[in-house]
């Protein structure tokens, strides 16, 4: 039963990901990406990782994708000289260039695949520790691997430094965005700037 659900959503995720690359209309690309993200969330559910699944939907589908769409809808690509009908930007690459790209893509794919296979053997970091720390209903059977409590405990104990570093990174990004937006406004006093 798990396999059937996995197969459906894995196929959907891969097909939609292909759609992101193949589709010519940028809004179709965005919708395909949305389908792909939601399918991956379903795959997380198959792994009992409810929290990650929900966060995947909330952050990527509900937040990031809406902003993508926002930008796509505002920027008229055809006006900016991109020939959407041809489906590419710039001149057609030579055969040598294309071969080079294919080799690079294959090498990267092999690297990711080998890492994935290798990680199957590794124990989940901190899993045993979380099991002892957590005295909830899921402590015994380890079923709630993605549970909110579990992730929270690990995040604020073993992984505190990376967690805080990630939040500093996000803060830097936010401040950077504000600085860029403000400079834009100063350069063009006629435009009121984005609301």
């Amino acid at each position: 039963m798990e396999f059937v659900v996995f197969a459906i959503f894995a196929a959907l995720a891969v097909l939609a990901a292909a759609g992101v690359v193949v589709a010519r209309n940028p809004v179709y690309c965005a919708v395909a990406l949305l389908v792909s993200l939601l399918s991956v969330a379903a795959l997380f559910l198959v792994l009992w990782a409810e929290f990650i699944a929900v966060v995947q939907i909330m952050v990527y589908a509900g937040g990031v994708m809406v902003l993508f769409l926002f930008v796509i809808m505002l920027v008229d690509l055809e006006q900016r000289g991109f020939d959407l009908g041809a489906g590419r930007i710039g001149p057609r690459p030579s055969a040598f260039e294309r071969g080079l790209w294919a080799v690079a893509a294959l090498a990267f794919g092999a690297l990711v695949l080998s890492l994935m296979v290798r990680s199957l053997d590794l124990p989940l970091p901190g899993a045993d520790r979380a099991a002892t720390m957590l005295q909830g209903p899921y402590a015994a059977d380890g079923r709630g691997l993605g549970n909110t409590e579990w992730i929270g405990m690990l995040l604020y104990t073993d992984w505190l430094v990376p967690f805080e570093l990630a939040s500093v990174l996000l803060l830097v990004a936010i401040i950077g965005a504000v600085v860029l937006a403000r400079r834009d406004q100063a350069d063009a006093p006629a435009g009121k700037g984005a609301a």
Binding site: N25, V27, Y28, F51, V54, I57, G63, V66, T148
Partner: protein
Amino acid sequence: MYPVLQYFVVPFIHGVVLTLVLLLCVAYLTFMERKVIAFMQVRIGPNRVGPRGLLQPIADVVKLLIKEDLTPDAANRVIFYIAPVIATLSTIAAFAVIPYGGPEATVSIFGFPIRPYLADVNVGILYVISISSIGVFGIVLGGWASNSKYPLLGGLRSAAQMISYEVPFGLAIIGVLMVTGTASLVEIVQWQQQHTWLFWLQPFAVVLFFIAGVAENNRAPFDLPEAESELVAGFHTEYSGFKFAFFFLAEYIAMIVVSALVVTLFFGGWLPVTFGLGHLFPKLPALLSGAWGGPWVMLLFGMGWVFIKVFFMLYLYLWIRATFPRYRYDQLMNIGWKFMIPASLAWIVLTGAGILAVQAIRS
């Protein structure tokens, strides 16, 4: 005994029944809206179809069904069709985790246990928030696919508005999570059963949550995406017939979802209203929750309480709509980013301090 039946067919039927009930509620919510607002504006409201106008929603549905379904020539047909579906499906899906009775009100039909909620997931609240954040795609895509300037502006406004108010919407419930220690909606109500309604502990969070909820629903006074005096009808200007009805449904179901969430999180969900007399008369809660009559009675009573409480929240929605004028766009953004978010963050800090203080007193 039949896992396929128990885990797929029965929940499917449960979901279908729940959806049909929701649709009926939406039909009469529109009637209630027209009647209540008419009352507040000293009018009579619809009173021609059926006794006291009670069949008006049926007539409206039939009208929407048989109306010509136009698609503009310049519209992007695929996305024009799927946008209303996304909007409606995401709001209906949010209802799956909202309990209308306790686990003790589980009834058995043909040997299958039917719980008074479709699912009790560990991440209940987060599920509702994430699913409702999908709903914005329906509006944004619908506005874009119409290929017309007012829908596009309405869609963009709604994208900015819903993203802005999702933040305080999520932050307002963190206090609830901190106090109860769980994100499951059923367990949150059970916590309130043992202690007290979270409204008494989180009064400010209720206000923030409800305001953010009204803004998330694009309801007055935050109905800028469809501000008729500026944008004709906003994102659904080009929609007609049943595709328009889908957007309409999405908005009203979302109202019911937010009301049900407020009731579940802060007003004790299926728990009876005892007006604080539970301590004086210890038997009162059991009497009012139907605990004297087995699961079917408890289910009926639980549904009754949820219905009454949700009804009051919906009335509040209509009251607000009849009372306040629409905000200007910059006012909307200022309220969202400069008041709602800092206030909800401050409330989280206050809640944390309160929990620490209680722990210090108890130890």
